[in-house]
């Protein structure tokens, strides 16, 4: 059928493809009207005889048309006659002879599809879908104020619709790309936000021991200077006494110095040095934990001790937990090694611990962290006795951007990212919560990494 379509010989006729004639108009007019598809097909009077109508179908100016409009003397369309119908009649024995001289009104479709020229392409597509049956034998008539205004091709409507769809789909594709990149940005900013929070906590955790370490060292240095001076004076006094010289001056100096440094001061210094060693050890631990935590020096997926990851996350979250005076009940169970990306699992654990801590607004905060092996899977349970999650929020907590925190405090991506990480590992994350009693998160991970690469 398409191969039959040839360019209309009459330049007054608009081309029958919207895309080729008015590409820009089609794109800007949304939704484009049927007027853009209009063909000024000369109408056929109802009394035209069948043979003459058949002749018209052979005329180049009607080529490409499935059917011709039949329009009464008053300008109102009364029907359509299709090539298909004519062919059906002519193929009957003596069809041509029987019907050739009869008026076309006898054979025409009296209920053709008639649409207002102001209708949109979308309306036309819907009307076509309702009216026209397979095989497609008719095109349709356009009217303006009830009077014949031309015809339009079903095929053109399809093309126009397809053009729209293509356009929409590029737009959708663009929107998708935009969304995707902004999601990546959000994931990044969530990472930065938790990083910022973590750094703030760590800075405090490190500066506290650093505070007394530095102070203790400064004081020790002062005491040592005094001690050295005392030792010098004592030595001088001893030398004088042994040499039989006058030792009084040296002894006086020793007396003065003794008031500044005595065994009590030295004992104090010993205690301060113990503290100092403790502080240096603490800073060292923190740095080690931080390195372990970020796994900067380790490969992606590996066999890891989940209990150790939990301990490490607890250490990192310590400042948040301690600041809120939360009691942590750590119940590590026996676990085989779990194949996972430790840095990612750490991120999940830290996120859950932080959420748990932030949910606690009273002073008897308690977080239970337990691990268990269940049927070839490892399970981490994190339960708080905080305010709980409102029933209407429970279904949405894993949704990206969903947050109950004040604007600017949470990106709403924490749990969404956590779930993504756990699912990439072939695991699952579940939550149960009761308002006023607390919330429990359970993370289940397969012991063997999922086939999907957890990158």
């Amino acid at each position: 059928m398409h191969s039959m379509t040839i360019a209309p010989p009459n330049p007054a006729l608009p081309a029958n493809s919207i895309a080729s004639t008015q590409p820009s108009a089609a794109r800007t007019e949304a939704p484009a009207g049927l007027s853009t598809l209009r063909l000024s097909t000369p109408p056929v009077p109802p009394d035209t005889c069948v043979i003459d109508v058949a002749q018209l179908f052979l005329d180049a100016s009607y080529a490409g048309l499935l059917s011709l409009p039949i329009v009464g003397a008053d300008g109102a369309p009364v029907g359509m006659i299709s090539r298909y119908e004519l062919m059906r009649v002519f193929l009957q024995p003596y069809g041509r002879e029987l019907f050739g001289r009869r008026p076309i009104s006898l054979l025409m479709n009296r209920a053709p599809l008639v649409l207002s020229i102001e209708a949109s392409i979308g309306d036309a597509a819907r009307a076509i879908a309702q009216h026209i049956r397979s095989p497609i034998t008719d095109d349709f008539i356009l009217v303006e104020d009830g009077r014949y205004a031309g015809t339009a091709l079903v095929l053109d409507v399809l093309r126009a619709v397809e053009g729209h769809l293509a356009e929409h789909s590029t737009e959708l594709e663009r929107a998708y790309v935009r969304l995707k990149s902004s999601q990546a940005q959000l994931v990044q900013s969530e990472k930065m936000a938790s990083l910022g929070q973590m750094v703030a906590g760590l800075v405090h955790e490190i500066n506290t021991p650093l505070g007394y370490v530095r102070n203790n060292v400064e004081m020790t240095r002062a005491v040592l200077a005094d001690a050295a001076q005392l030792l010098g004076a004592q030595q001088a006094a001893l030398d004088a006494l042994l040499g039989g010289a006058d030792a009084q001056a040296s002894l006086d100096e020793v007396d003065v110095l003794r008031t500044r440094i005595d065994s009590v001061a030295l004992d104090d210094i010993a205690a301060l040095l113990d503290d100092t060693l403790h502080g240096v050890g603490q800073i060292g631990d923190l740095v080690l934990n931080l390195k372990d935590f970020s796994r900067l020096d380790q490969a992606g997926a590996q066999k890891a001790d989940l209990n150790q990851l939990v301990a490490s996350a607890l250490r990192i979250a310590n400042h948040i937990l301690r600041k809120r005076g939360i009691e942590v009940v750590h119940q590590p169970g026996e676990l085989p090694p779990v194949e996972c990306a430790p840095a990612q699992i750490n991120q999940v654990l830290l996120n859950l611990l932080t959420n748990a801590a932030q949910a606690i607004e009273h002073e008897r905060g308690r977080i239970v962290v337990a691990t268990r092996a269940v049927e070839g899977r490892a399970m981490v349970l994190i339960q708080d006795n905080g305010k709980g999650i409102a029933a209407e929020h429970q279904a949405r907590i894993f949704d990206p951007f969903f947050t109950t925190k004040p604007v600017g405090e949470g990106t709403g991506m924490g749990l969404a990212i956590s779930r993504q990480i756990v699912e990439q590992h072939g695991g699952a994350i579940r939550m149960t919560s009761h308002v006023g009693q607390g919330t429990r998160f359970v993370v289940v991970l397969p012991l063997r990494a999922a086939t999907q690469e957890a990158a």
């Binding site: 800075v203 405090h204 955790e205 505070g211 530095r214 503290d275 400042h319």
Partner: protein, 317 residues
């Protein structure tokens, strides 16, 4: 310190910090120490404590909470925050609610901490002495607005577009003069010729002239109180404004109306107290700026700065 030692209270949830500080101040002060904020407040209620040095991040009660309560129950006690890390919100609260004397970071410099605490102790001891000789000091019940009217004190607003000045104008009764300066140069000119009680400054850059000028101004005009409005969440900037500028209030922009109004009233009240009881000025004394004034004030405003200095010298003479 001859005879009586000042009483210094240290508050930190880390025992080792307390032990270390105890040792540092041995012989220099009578020392109280606690790991609990709650207990710290109790100690201040029951002892004459000259200086409180508190950590910020502690379980139960934060340092700002402690200092706020201390300020309420013992206003003569000087308050210092000694912390390993404070976010901007905590710092802002320490200024606006705790009205702290110094913000000191851990790890601290031993000699500087001693000097800071001893200076604070001297100021508090004098204050307590005055109170003792006068009996219980009557709380300033005077109407700050009326005082401001009487003293013909001006409120100077340094903002480029005039929006803040308009708001300040609207918040204060007509009798209190509100002067607007579009830039630092004209602000300094206004300061040279008028008695300014409160200066409200919009701060749009952390290392511009305005921040430096505010620090210098506190030395030239200690009774003038500065309210800084800024959208910069820069803790370095605020640290400098506290220790070197004794900024009176720090409000994030745009300031809620009521907050700005309360800050203005509090500043006018404090100015009146400082004007009539000049010994109180010492409570707002500042650390030497890290950079010299001539080097920091740009050439453009240097002329206005000189006029201001001359005016100040002339007034004192």
């Amino acid at each position: 310190m001859n005879g009586a030692l000042p009483c210094v209270l240290f508050v930190d949830d880390e025992e080792r910090i307390l032990r270390s500080l105890r040792m540092l101040f041995r012989g220099r002060a009578e020392i109280l120490a606690t790991t609990s904020g709650r207990e710290a407040v109790e100690l201040v209620r029951n002892h004459r404590v000259h200086v409180v040095v508190s950590d910020q991040r502690m379980p139960g009660m934060t340092g700002v909470d402690v200092l706020r309560e201390v300020a309420a129950c013992s206003p003569a006690t000087m308050r210092i925050l000694l912390t390993g890390y404070a976010d901007l919100d905590a710092m802002t609260a320490s200024v606006n609610e705790g009205e702290i004397y110094r913000f000191v970071e851990k790890p601290w410099d031993a000699q500087r901490l001693i000097a800071t605490v001893e200076q604070a102790a001297r100021i508090a001891m004098d204050e307590f002495d005055v109170q003792a000789s006068r009996g219980a000091e009557a709380a300033p019940t005077a109407n700050a607005i009326a005082d401001a009217e009487r003293a013909a004190a001006h409120v100077l607003v340094l903002d480029e577009d005039g929006a803040i000045a308009a708001q300040v104008r609207e918040l204060l009764p007509p009798a209190v003069a509100v002067v607007r300066a579009g830039d630092l140069e004209s602000a300094l000119d206004a300061l040279a010729t008028q008695e300014v009680a409160v200066m409200i400054a919009q701060l749009s850059s952390a290392d511009g002239d305005v921040a430096d000028a505010l620090k210098q101004l506190k030395r030239l005009r200690p009774a003038m109180l500065a309210i800084v409005l800024s959208s910069l969440r820069d803790s370095r900037l605020l640290l400098g404004l506290i220790n070197e500028g004794q900024v009176f209030r720090f409000l994030l922009q745009p300031p809620p109306r009521e907050l700005l109004r309360r800050a203005l009233i509090a500043a006018l009240e404090r100015h009146e107290a400082l004007r009539t009881q000049t010994r109180l000025l010492r409570r707002h004394d500042v650390e030497a700026p890290s950079r010299a004034p001539a080097a920091t004030i740009s050439a453009r405003v240097l002329g206005a700065w000189r006029r201001l200095r001359e005016a100040t010298v002339a007034r004192i003479a």
